[in-house]
Subunit: 106 residues, 2 copies
């Protein structure tokens, strides 16, 4: 890896914020379970690691009303996902092959 | 904001991971306090919000040995910061004006 290569080719952050005041939040909509599932799938497909893909949890990404949300950088593509099939599609099409999943974009 | 504009112009993620097994981690090196400070400074300078700057905590960014670390997207610039002066420089020079702080880059 040269010094100009990105440390991660694609870096996906899942909002895993939990609100305790009754307002809607990503954590109430399956964010943690589906973040874990995404991490497993990325690892299983051999995509994880330096120069490749990293999956992270993040604090509130401030798009609560659209949650659960995740953002993929460096592209800055935002997703609303709802189940494992959505995650599979993001992993397969975007994280592995670089093509954003149009139907899940917000 | 048009649909092609990024939701956040710059998005900085601070690794705030805490390891309980004795290995070094960003949380033991002031990450949470300096993330809060960064958030305050970004707000104070009127940089926070949609189309501008977002400051977030994140789980382990997997560069523990260089910590405490933060990454700014979409540029994918990684920093090792150690004190408030470092954060001031990242906020002023990079988050506000788009010029990475060379002396703090990793």
């Amino acid at each position: 890896m040269s010094t100009s290569d990105p440390y991660f080719q694609r870096h996906i952050f899942f909002c895993c914020n939990r609100r305790e005041d009754g307002r809607e939040c990503c954590a109430d909509k399956g964010a943690n379970e589906l973040r874990d599932y995404c991490k497993q799938q990325v690892k299983k497909r051999g995509l994880a690691g330096t120069g490749r893909v990293r999956v992270n949890m993040a604090g509130c990404l401030d798009r609560c009303e659209l949650g659960p949300v995740a953002v993929v950088y460096p592209e800055g593509v935002w997703y609303r996902y709802q189940n494992r099939e959505d995650i599979d599609e993001i992993v397969e099409q975007h994280l592995a092959n670089g093509e954003p999943v149009q139907r899940l974009k917000i």
